[in-house]
Amino acid sequence: MENSLLSIKNLHKEFDRNTILKGINLKLNKGEVIVIIGPSGCGKSTLLRCLNGLEDIQGGEIYLGGKLLQKNAKDISSMRQKIGMVFQSYDLFPHKTVLENILLAPVKVQKRKRAEVEAEAMELLERVGLADRKNDYPRQLSGGQKQRIAIVRALIMHPEVLLLDEITAALDPEMVHEVLQVVLDLAKSGSTMLIVTHEMAFAKAIADRVLFFEHGEIVEESHAPKAFFERPQTERARQFLKSFEY
């Protein structure tokens, strides 16, 4: 309980009278990587968006480091700074270069010194292998490169937890690897992450815990990802995983 960074209690979300999330309970501990899998439209992405205050919720509570997170509260901006998010579609700002994209929030929102942030940005760019593209505009980058920059842009805020929402879903297959490699590195260095993905091998390799989502609820939860992927306990998870075998 003490070391749970993010805790979700009985979260309900409705949209146009459809229930998207039916009372989700979840605790994410520091340094833990949770992977959420499940069929499209099961509410995985919505959950992540709720955690970042991008969606109204109809019931339940979200706590980050013991503090209640509310979409329209005054402190939402400072809460969001502690939660990094990378989206499925490319969300870089098209009118800014790679470096400007990365520096914008730490300099303007967190009011940190530009020189210091820039040094850190270069270090991170080096780490994702894109230091030489710092003056390019998003249009000049491939999808995989854009997503790696988006990860850097989230990391430079020093988030306590990173939310990754199907970040490889819009990529050509040959670019998926370079992005996933970056995420695997982050996991190794102890980042706390909540990941929604359709890449099963990746999920198996990176997860400390796997959640199987369907119809807006957690159907199966496993602390032993390898065992889960080989022998899921529920029939619904078995059916879902079967669809990935050919």
């Binding site: 968006r49 970042n52 205050g53 991008l54 901006s77 400072s78 809460m79 969001r80 700074q81 939660i83 990094g84 998010m85 989206f87 579609s89 490319y90 969300d91 870089l92 700002f93 098209p94 009118h95 270069t97 914008l104 929030a105 303007k108 929102v109 967190q110 390019d136 505009y137 998003p138 249009r139 000049q140 988006a150 842009r153 989230a154 805020m157």
Partner: protein, 219 residues
């Protein structure tokens, strides 16, 4: 065509050009300001204000500037609102242009993908930071072609100012023709001075558009 006559008219045309430009650009500035505010109100669906803004844009986009000016200049004094020709011209042009600019900027705003708003939010930006650093630069860039077209349209529209006895280029030409009947000379000068006023705007606008289209943010 009598060159000496034309040269003797030059100072009059020059003064008229300055007046036309002054009123024209002031009107454009007002229009841009109204457009920015109006488009934000409509885009963010501010209650009540959005209906006022859209009624305003419909009304001014669907009536001629000439009629708007006549209303401001001749009708409003009857209910106690009196303005000078120059103020009337400036605000008439500003209000007409504001309606067009609102439409242009609104479609610029609508063209920005939702994900841009969300990723700005997820970086912890406040509403004003998001607007300033992320939304406005993109909205302005995608509105440039419309903006240039509007500016040229508004500067052209200044020609109707003559009807409320503002001594602009058109008024000067009409006045001189009436006085001395040197029709051809006056009309040639009129064309030349409108070219001086509008050709640079047109050429610069073209350059700006081409730059944005082909070199759009580093392509």
């Amino acid at each position: 065509m009598n060159l000496d006559v034309m040269i003797s008219y030059l100072p009059l045309y020059r003064d008229a050009l300055f007046l036309t430009m002054r009123v024209g650009w002031k009107g454009v500035a007002i229009a841009v300001l109204i457009g920015l505010i109006g488009s934000a109100i409509i885009h963010f669906e501010i209650p009540i204000a959005r209906y006022i803004v859209s009624a305003y844009t419909q009304l001014f986009r669907n009536t001629p500037l000439l009629v708007q000016l006549f209303f401001i200049y001749f009708a409003l004094p009857k209910i106690g609102i009196c303005v000078s020709p120059e103020v009337c011209g400036t605000w008439g042009l500003g209000l007409l242009g504001g309606a067009y600019m609102t439409e242009t900027f609104r479609s610029g705003l609508d063209n920005i993908p939702k994900i841009q708003f969300e990723s700005a939010e997820s970086l912890g930006m406040s509403r004003s930071q998001m607007f300033r650093y992320v939304i406005l630069p993109q909205a302005v860039a995608s509105s440039i072609p419309g903006l240039v077209a509007n500016v040229i349209f508004l500067l052209k529209e200044t020609s109707v100012f003559s009807t409320i006895s503002l001594m602009d280029l058109m008024f000067t030409a009409k006045d001189l023709i009436g006085m001395y009947a040197k029709t051809i000379e006056c009309l040639v000068l009129l064309v030349i001075f409108y070219l001086i006023m509008l050709l640079p705007v047109s050429v610069l606008g073209d350059l700006l558009e081409r730059r944005l289209r082909h070199a759009e943010f580093g392509d």
